[in-house]
Amino acid sequence: MAKIMSLIYREWILMRKKLLLGLAITAGMLLMITIIGFSFRNGAFDGNEKLRNMLTTYGGSYHAYLVMLLLIPLAGTSADAYESDIKSNWARYSLTLPAETKLRAIAHVLFLLIRFIAVFLILVAVSAAAAAAFGKPFAKEMIADIGVFSCLTLIPICLVEFFMGKAKDPIAYKKQQSRIPVAFAACGTAVGLLLARAMKNAETDSDPITAMKPLLDKYVTIRNTVQPFIIPVFIGLLVLIYVIAKRNLDSLKRS
């Protein structure tokens, strides 16, 4: 256990700057969204009623952004940790330590789980605070939403682990790294096109939230269907990441 704790501590030191930066960027983006949201409504602060309505309207967007902005950096930090380990030659040095690859892969996945739990708690706390601020009951569906987004976030993490783990030296790392933005840009374009297709029947003069209503309804249906599978899928993806991480570490011995 002491070895796992040490390895987790090491990963925390390695990633903490980026993780904290991710949090700061999230806070900044939310502030920006708020300002842009108010600007769209002609910057009018003419009474509590309107402010309340506006905040309610943008509440959904806030949550979606919050979930994405907090979860996406988790994928990025895994790549950063690989970069640092390859640059410093830790990958080779770690093979001289009395810690088996199994143990190191477990520590790696456990730290990922800890990060997800931390993000989960932040999101639940923000949701609860937002619900309390508007005098509404806490939406338990939010927990399922976080679960869905968490599973979705684990997929790019799997890919990052898979591709980055193939790199055994800084040159190979750069080559692998250059593929990630391309992959993300392609995924972003695909998601954008799918959203546009889903919203094509919306009234032209409706606001974005109204336009997205059919899509959100569809999402809710899907979420309610997949809800019972979120935890097994999440655990399954963590196991997959463990397998990839262990394979990566074992392959260092063969290279």
Binding site: A2, K3, L7, W90, Y93, P98
Partner: protein, 292 residues
């Protein structure tokens, strides 16, 4: 705990790569000794060390570290040995204080007091990040880590390369103190033979994947000698009496592996003592026999 005579025992180690073969090599690192593992770049030193550490799988052979099998007892062996590479492997964001916390959990016998003792001895700041340290300081930090878990065997792969002579001397002093406890041993791979002449008890010389020479350093230096002669005198020396000959404008230099025998056979010949570096050069060119 396993009793052992040799901290490292390598028998018939073979490893094939495309274009390079580590060819059936065998040598020992006797307990309590510093063994200098010398050879030019690409000779097979790092491949041997990586094989010992089970970083690469071997094709055949037996490797015992501290009396333990290097694969089946890998974890136990690694608990009891320290490794120093040519580059500092700790990420740039870590401070020595944080490294202490990392290694405290990783090594069963990690000694925080010893670690900070070495940091003070090396005048390394406790809270400065690795990225802000000079190359010499990074190497000292790596050595401090390797020596702070009561390691019985220290393996160093080109650890002193790229360091200035003052830092290298400081480090050699630390190794001398480390060896004061008779149960400890060092395998030091380097192509800076002057360091090994100062500190090593034994020498293993590898070239092109084969061990060309191994034994006690003093015996090697005592036995080998350089015969100096003119170009006209050079043909008088029988090729089997020397390893190779360096021919230059001023004459010829021939390395003999048996100085006493050469002195007896070629009375009047000038035979001088030699250095590890010269021995290395003459052996590397042994196939050519003549070189300049």
């Amino acid at each position: 705990m396993t009793e052992y005579e040799n901290a490292v025992e390598i028998r018939g180690l073979t490893k094939h790569y495309d274009g390079f073969t580590l060819d059936n090599i065998s040598f020992n690192v006797p307990k309590g000794c510093i063994v200098g593992f010398i050879g030019q770049n690409g000779a097979g030193k790092t491949t041997t060390i990586h094989s010992m550490l089970n970083i690469i799988p071997i094709d055949s052979g037996v490797i015992k570290l501290l009396g333990l099998d290097h694969i089946s007892d890998e974890k136990e062996a690694k608990e009891r040995m320290g490794v120093v590479f040519d580059e500092c492997p700790f990420g740039e964001v870590f401070t020595p204080v944080q490294l202490d916390r990392v290694f405290r959990g990783l090594y069963r016998n990690w000694q925080t007091d010893t670690f900070f003792g070495y940091l003070d001895l090396f005048q390394l700041p406790h809270k400065k990040k690795v990225g802000e340290l000079s190359k010499g300081m990074k190497m000292k930090l790596q050595i401090a880590v390797a020596l702070s878990h009561d390691a019985e065997l220290l393996i160093m792969d080109e650890a002193t390369s790229g360091l200035d002579p003052i830092v290298r001397n400081e480090i050699l002093d630390v190794f001398r103190n480390y060896l004061m406890d008779g149960g400890r041993s060092i395998l030091m791979s380097s192509h800076i033979t002057s360091d090994l002449e100062k500190i090593a008890d034994c020498i293993v010389f590898i070239d092109n994947g084969k061990i060309l020479l191994s034994g006690y350093k003093d015996e090697i230096l005592e036995k080998h000698g350089v015969i100096k002669c003119t170009r006209e005198e050079y043909p008088e020396f029988s090729p089997e009496d020397y390893i190779s000959a360096r021919i230059n404008d001023f004459g010829a230099e021939l390395l003999t592996a048996d100085r006493a025998a050469a002195a007896a056979k070629y009375s009047g010949a000038i035979i001088e003592k030699t250095t590890l570096e010269e021995i290395m050069q003459f052996y590397v060119n042994a196939k050519k026999k003549e070189w300049s």
